[in-house]
């Protein structure tokens, strides 16, 4: 259950974990359990996953959603059972609020709940799989002819978005800004150019301020979206978005819903804290013998405040 690869590209790993979660849950729910135990087990799992990989929050986000779905389904079923003569319509789970749920006793037996929950889990999995395509549906609305699009680092969501726009016959160019410590932008640029034949220019993030006046839009992916609307994105995003703000260039953030996290950015919140990795891409090991007095740091994430973002595009 523990994550092994924890990179800024961790979304892939987390997706798989979420799948594994869903599949495991399906299996467990095949065995009959009391509802209360399922919820408790889910909460425990969420805690364990969070402790295993502090900065990866996708799996715990998914589990929280699942818990919410189970609770809603449960309460909806109960309402249908208990209040046959109530004024509420039979299917109104959206009208449940937390106070109602709070008084619900989850240990009661409710028939057919398991099949409903299994359906809900299948829906979640389908949503996961198709998140990229769903986000890309809007591509042609946002990318116009002769646009110069700036993107940062490697993001499969952004790649699908751009490819969809190209498929809809938009002529545009892409500048890929590559940031430390991993410099994944190079792969992104190579992929866009070689496979999809999109005209692309690669540059380091140091040069972004110079070209920002010629950019029409900035389109980025992100690692997590925090509760205040801010981002936890790869290091280097914040300076680039500051430059975009300076030149009033619109910023689009593409993200599937499982990246929405209930965490607020505060200094006490360990979950949104930064991570330090080896700076080997930046400073060679041999050089450190000369630079024997210097401490070299390389962080992975960057916090981006919400006011720098123009628009979020989700898969719903």
């Amino acid at each position: 259950m523990t994550t092994t690869i924890s990179t800024a590209d961790g979304e892939k790993v987390m997706e798989d974990k979420a799948y594994i979660e869903a599949a495991a849950l399906l299996q467990i729910l095949e065995i009959s359990l009391k509802r209360g135990e399922v919820l408790r087990w889910l909460k425990n799992t969420s805690e364990r996953l969070t402790n295993a990989a502090i900065s990866e929050s996708a799996s715990s986000n998914m589990i929280h959603r699942l818990i919410k779905i189970i609770q809603e389904e449960f309460a909806a079923k109960k309402k249908i059972e208990n209040s046959a003569s109530s004024n509420l319509p039979a299917h109104a789970p959206s009208r449940l609020d937390s106070t109602e749920l709070g008084i619900v006793d989850f240990t009661e037996e409710v028939p057919d709940l398991r099949s409903d929950i299994l359906n809900a889990i299948l829906d979640l999995s389908a949503e996961l799989e198709s998140s990229g395509e769903n986000i890309a549906e809007d591509a042609e609305k946002h990318i116009h002819q002769q646009d110069v699009i700036l993107t940062v680092g490697k993001s499969r969501t952004v790649e699908k978005f751009l490819v969809k726009a190209k498929a809809k016959k938009r002529r545009f160019e892409v500048i890929v800004a590559t940031c430390g410590p991993f410099y994944t932008g190079r792969e992104m640029a190579a992929q866009l150019k070689n496979r999809y034949k999109i005209p692309v220019t690669l540059m380091e993030d140091t040069g972004v301020f110079s070209v920002m006046s010629r950019v029409s839009k900035v389109i980025i992916g992100t690692h997590t979206i925090l509760a205040n609307g801010g981002l936890k994105a790869i290091a280097g995003c914040h300076p680039i978005l500051l430059a975009a703000k300076h030149y009033n260039v619109p910023v689009l953030v593409l993200a599937p819903i499982y990246k929405l996290s209930p965490d607020y950015p505060s200094s006490n919140n360990v979950k949104i804290a930064n991570r330090f990795v080896s700076p080997e891409n930046l400073v060679k090991y041999e050089d450190l013998q000369v630079m024997n007095n210097a401490h070299v740091y390389a962080t992975v994430f960057d916090y981006v405040p919400p006011e720098l973002i123009t628009l979020f595009i989700f898969n719903m």
């Binding site: 500048i175 940031c179 430390g180 410590p181 410099y183 190079r186 640029a189 190579a190 150019k193 070689n194 496979r195 034949k197 005209p199 692309v200 220019t201 690669l202 540059m203 380091e204 993030d205 140091t206 040069g207 972004v208 301020f209 110079s210 070209v211 920002m212 006046s213 010629r214 790869i234 290091a235 280097g236 914040h238 300076p239 500051l242 430059a243 300076h246 930064n274 700076p279 891409n281 930046l282 400073v283 050089d287 000369v290 630079m291 007095n293 210097a294 401490h295 070299v296 740091y297 390389a298 962080t299 960057d302 916090y303």
Partner: protein
């Protein structure tokens, strides 16, 4: 650059003989001898070419190239070592053979990647790739790929290879269909007139091509060896930093003037200034001028113009020598000290200072701060280039290793991560390359990002810039591009713009950018601490006091 090291070696040998005499005629003699050597080498190479057409020959030449490559890298640039002409010739031969071998490899080098895409391993015509000395080897051996190429006539793209290596006629492939990618790349390379980069390995030195393009060597043929040596030091980044480059330029000018002999029937002033103009123009081909160097050049011209008529040649030379010495002393050396004094005042005990784009003035500032015993924290922003090591070593040299260790707490962070560390920073010190009349400050690429992030947190951004780097131009955005024609982004680049990489990617290497005036708190100059919008005033004041008389 292997080629240039050999050139340097050859020029050293000739330069030694000329050191005490200088002057145009000796220079011309030297160049004639060099030309004769070149013609001999090209004839030898013609024989080598025919012998090395096969792939086995490529392997043999690769063996030859490795000892010569090691020789090339250890070729001393130091003037005191003499290299015999024969050695130089032998090295040149070996290098040309190696180059031919590499060409053979790369011509057969269409590697097929796993997902069926063809990538081009482009011929190593570009100097930056030479520097990396990395050959993206094809998946199979060269022979295998020749067969593949012959069997798939419709799918290869050797259009560039063909043009540049017509004399190697082993490839029987039909001309490539003009696909988008290689044509565009070719355009972008051809659109940029970079004779030194593109044509340094061109066919003119191997065998005359049908349409000879002006080669770098033909362009700098008539340049005096002293200036060629200077240019090679520039292009190989041996001399780095505006101050160093300007001082070297002026020293070379001085030694040229001292060795100058007026030819028959010409005036000292006219001929000297026209010769120097010619050399200065050619020097730009090696590497575009730093903005401060332009000021120095204008000063030299003005000084020559201001020479009084009727004096003898030795008197002229003495005056010019004195002028150059004074310029270097007042505008550069003393200026750096003056800046350092004011800058060191800004460093208080316990301050955390973020610095980037380090220049002489900043090193001197830290040195002074270290001498006065201040303990402070230094955050050095690093980019992926290799400059960080040079910067750190220069800092260590300037401050002294013990002082650095005991008084300064250095952290190095990636420029991408500055926002995570910026809240703990008190001041930002940035080294300026030039200052414009709009108030924009030109510095290494990334300085504007640092200034932007710092001003966002209300942290003072202080630039360090000598007055001789003040420039009359006014770029309205973040570019200042002088020599190279701009690509569609109008990038301010030093050497390479839109250079194709091994994977066929267009990589934009931006060397400098301009920080707009609203992001700059102040600029420390040798005159005073000024707001960056005060450039026009300073220039006007300087105009009224001409450089030649009083500085």
């Amino acid at each position: 650059m292997i080629w240039n090291d050999v050139e340097v070696g050859g020029l050293m040998a000739s330069g030694l003989a000329l050191e005490d005499r200088g002057g145009d005629e000796e220079g011309r003699n030297v160049l004639q001898t060099l030309a004769s050597i070149k013609s001999q080498i090209s004839s030898v190479l013609g024989l080598l070419q025919t012998a090395h057409v096969s792939a086995e020959g490529a392997a043999a030449a690769a063996e030859m190239s490795s000892p010569s490559a090691t020789v090339a890298t250890t070729l001393p640039v130091d003037e005191s070592e003499a290299i015999s002409r024969d050695d130089v010739k032998a090295q040149r031969e070996a290098k040309k053979a190696a180059k031919a071998a590499r060409k053979n490899k790369s011509l057969g080098g269409e590697s097929v990647t796993a997902d069926g895409n063809k990538t081009i391993s482009t011929p190593k015509n570009n100097a930056p790739k030479e520097k990396k000395e990395k050959v993206s080897n094809p998946v199979g051996g060269p022979k295998v790929h020749k067969e593949q190429n012959l069997s798939k006539p419709d799918s290869n793209k050797p259009s560039k290879c063909e043009d540049k290596a017509e004399e190697v006629s082993q490839e029987k492939n039909p001309p490539a269909k003009p696909t988008n990618t290689p044509a565009k790349i070719k355009e972008s390379i051809e659109a940029v007139p970079e004779p030194e980069v593109v044509n340094a390995k061109s066919s003119a030195t191997i065998e005359p091509a049908p349409k000879p393009r002006p080669t770098f060597e033909s362009l700098v043929e008539k340049v005096h060896p002293k200036f060629r040596e200077l240019g090679l030091k520039y292009s190989n980044y041996i001399l780095r930093g505006s101050n160093q480059r300007t001082i070297a330029l002026l020293s070379t000018t001085k030694s040229y003037i001292l060795g100058y002999r007026t030819p028959e029937g010409k005036g000292f002033k006219q001929d000297l200034s026209s010769q120097l103009q010619f050399y200065y123009e050619k020097l730009k081909l090696y590497r575009p001028y730093a903005v401060g160097m332009t000021t120095a050049v204008e000063g030299v011209n003005a000084a020559i113009r201001a020479l009084e008529e009727g004096m003898s040649d030795p008197q002229y030379k003495e005056e010019l020598e004195e002028w150059v010495d004074r310029f270097i002393e007042e505008k550069i050396t003393k200026a750096v000290e003056a800046i350092a004094e004011k800058g060191a005042e800004k460093i208080r005990e316990g301050d955390t200072i973020l610095t980037f784009s380090l220049t002489d003035a900043i090193y001197e500032t830290f040195k002074l701060a270290g001498e006065s015993g201040t303990r402070f924290n230094l955050v050095l922003a690093i980019t992926k280039s290799d400059h960080y090591l040079a910067e750190y070593t220069q800092l260590k040299q300037a401050m002294g290793g013990d002082v650095l260790k005991s008084q300064v707490n250095i952290s190095c962070i990636n420029l991408s991560s500055i926002m995570s560390f910026i809240s703990s920073v008190d001041k930002v010190f940035l080294g300026g390359h030039a200052l414009f009349t709009t108030g924009g400050v030109m510095a290494h690429a990334g300085a504007s990002t640092v200034a932007l992030c710092a001003s966002h947190h209300n942290i003072p951004v202080i630039f360090f810039c000598e007055t001789y780097k003040f420039c009359d131009k006014s770029p309205t955005d973040a570019f200042y591009s002088d020599v190279f024609p701009e690509n569609k982004f109008g990038l301010a680049v030093d050497k390479e713009v839109g250079v194709e990489d091994d994977e066929g990617l267009t990589v934009a290497r931006i060397c400098y950018d301009v920080t707009p005036v609203d992001l700059v708190t102040c600029v420390i100059t040798d005159i005073d601490m000024l707001p960056s919008s005060s450039v026009p005033v300073v220039l006007r004041v300087q105009e009224s006091r001409p450089l030649t008389k009083c500085l």
